[in-house]
Amino acid sequence: MKKIVILGAGIAGHTAALHAKRILGKSVEVIVISPNSKWNWIPSNIWVGVGKMQPDQVTFPLAPIYKRKGITFHQALAKNIHPEGDTTTANGYVEISFTDPTRSGEVAKIEYDFLVNATGPKLNFAATEGLGPDGHTVSVCTSGHAVEAASALTEIIAKLKTGARQRLAIGVGHGTCTCEGAAFEYTFNVEHELRAAGVRDFADIYYITNEYELGDFGVGGMVFTQSGFETTSKLWTESLFRERGIHAILGAHVEKVTPGEIHYEQVDGAKGILSFDFAMLLPPFRGVDLKAFDKTGADISEKIFAPSGFMKVDADYTAKPFEDWRAEDWPKTYCNPSYPNIFAVGIAFAPPHQISRPRKSPNGTLIAPSPPRTGMPSGIMGKHAILSIKELITKGPNAVLPSASMADMGAACVASAGSGLREGSAAAMTMYPIVPDYIKYPGSGRSAPDTFGEIGLSGHWIKLLLHYMFIYKAKARLGWSLIPE
C-alpha cells in the first residue's frame, strides 16, 4: 500500500487529503500532518475581525472528519524532510514534532511514497519591527488574531462614541506582502461597521499598501468591460475609495511600527510617518521552517527550497527582466524537480516571479506585491497533485501528469465591503487567467469575457454562499466532491 503524506491541512492540503481518499480509496494510506487541530475558512476571518462572526463559525475540528474518511491525522509540526531516507531506510520520510497536547514533546519519523507539501506560509511578522500581535498592530490572518482585532475595534468604536477623533490604519506591513485583497476587505468592513455604529464622521481611515496603484491586488490590476467600455480595476477601486471617503498611501514599504506610528518609505524614496489609534497590517509571508537532508545527513535545503523558504517546483526560476516574464514560466504539475515524488501546492510552492510589476525605491528598497495563490487556485493545485500521484501509481514514473498552471486557471475574488443580508456589499471579481498571458490575450493579458467586476449586495450574498458552501465541502458531507475547488 502506497503512503501519501500531506503536510498542512489548509485549503490546499485538506482538499488534497479528501480527494486522495476519494480517488485512490483503500489502495493508499493518507496521512495528514498539521500543527493545527482545526480547519479555518480564512476568507471569513474578515467578519470575525469586525465582530460579525465568532471563531467557531469559521473553524471546525479536523480529527472527526479524517476519522470518518479513513485518513490518519497527526497534529504535529513537520521539521525535516529526508527525501532519500538515511543510512537505515531508503524510503523518504518526514521528521515531525507533535503539537497535540496529549503527545506534546513526542517526535516521530513518518515514511512516505509521495509527499504533498501544503504547509501554507509562515506569517513573517518579524520582517518588520513592531509588526503584529506581539508588536503594535493587529492581524486577521488567523481566527485568533481576528478575535483580537475585533476587540481592539470595539474599543475604538467606544472612544469614537465619546466624540474623540480616531485614526484607523489598515493595509499591509511590508513591501513584499501579498493578500492586498484581504486588507482591502477589512478596510471596507471596518468602514461599514463604523457607519452602522453612527461614528463614521469621527474616524479617519487610511489604507496603506505596497500596491503602486489601487486595484492592483498583487495581480497587476485587471481590465473590465462595463457598459460598452473597457475600464480598469484601478479606476473602479478609486471610485469606491472616493465614495466611502477612505484615504490611501500607495507603493509603501512599512519599515517599522512604534506605538501609535507606522514608519514607511514609498516607491519614490519619500519617507513618512502615519500616526494611528488602531492598525491592522497583514504580515509578509515566507516558507515555513522546514529543512531537507540527503541520505548522508547533509543539508540540501537550498536544493529544494527557494531563498524565500517556499519549495521549488516545475517553474522557470531563471532571473530575467519583468518584460521577459512569460506565462509558461509558471509551474504546471507542482512537482519538485529534484524529487518527482514530492509536490508543493498552494502558498507552499515558490512562484517564479511576481505578477504585479516589482519596483525599487531610489534607496534600493524592494516594493513588490507577491503573487496571491490562496483560495481557489490552492484547492485546484491540491486536487491536481493527487491526480498526478494517481498517474504515477498506475502508470509509473514516466506517466504524463495533468496540468494546473495559474496561467491557465481563473480565480474568483469576492471582496466583502460590509456584511448584512440587506445592507451588505461586496466587490465580486473574476479573472482568467490569474497570470496574464500576453501572447494568448494581447492587451490586458486576460480574457475579457471572463474578467469582470461588480459591486453590490449580490456580492455579499455570493461571499456568504461561498462561506457555507466551502465549509460544507471541507466537512466532506454528502456530495462534497461535486462542489468545485
Binding site: L214, S239, R242, K383, A412, A428, T430, Y432, P433
Partner: protein
C-alpha cells in the same frame, strides 16, 4: 509619487441611481444569478484535469 488622495478625488462617483441599484433586492437577485453563472463558466474553463503536461 502623486498623492493617492488627489487621484482618488478625480475618480468617478456612482450616481444615486447606481447606489440604489446596488441595494435593490430584485435587481441584486438578478445580478446574483448572473454573476454566479459567469463564475461557473470561468471555473469550468479552468478545471480541465485531462489536459496533460
Amino acid at each position: 509619487m502623486n498623492s493617492a488622495d488627489d487621484v482618488i478625488a478625480q475618480a468617478p462617483l456612482p450616481t444615486p441611481a447606481t447606489l440604489k441599484a446596488r441595494k435593490n433586492l430584485f435587481f441584486q437577485f438578478w445580478r446574483f444569478v448572473v454573476i454566479n453563472l459567469r463564475m461557473i463558466k470561468m471555473i469550468r474553463k479552468g478545471h480541465h484535469p485531462m489536459e496533460r503536461h
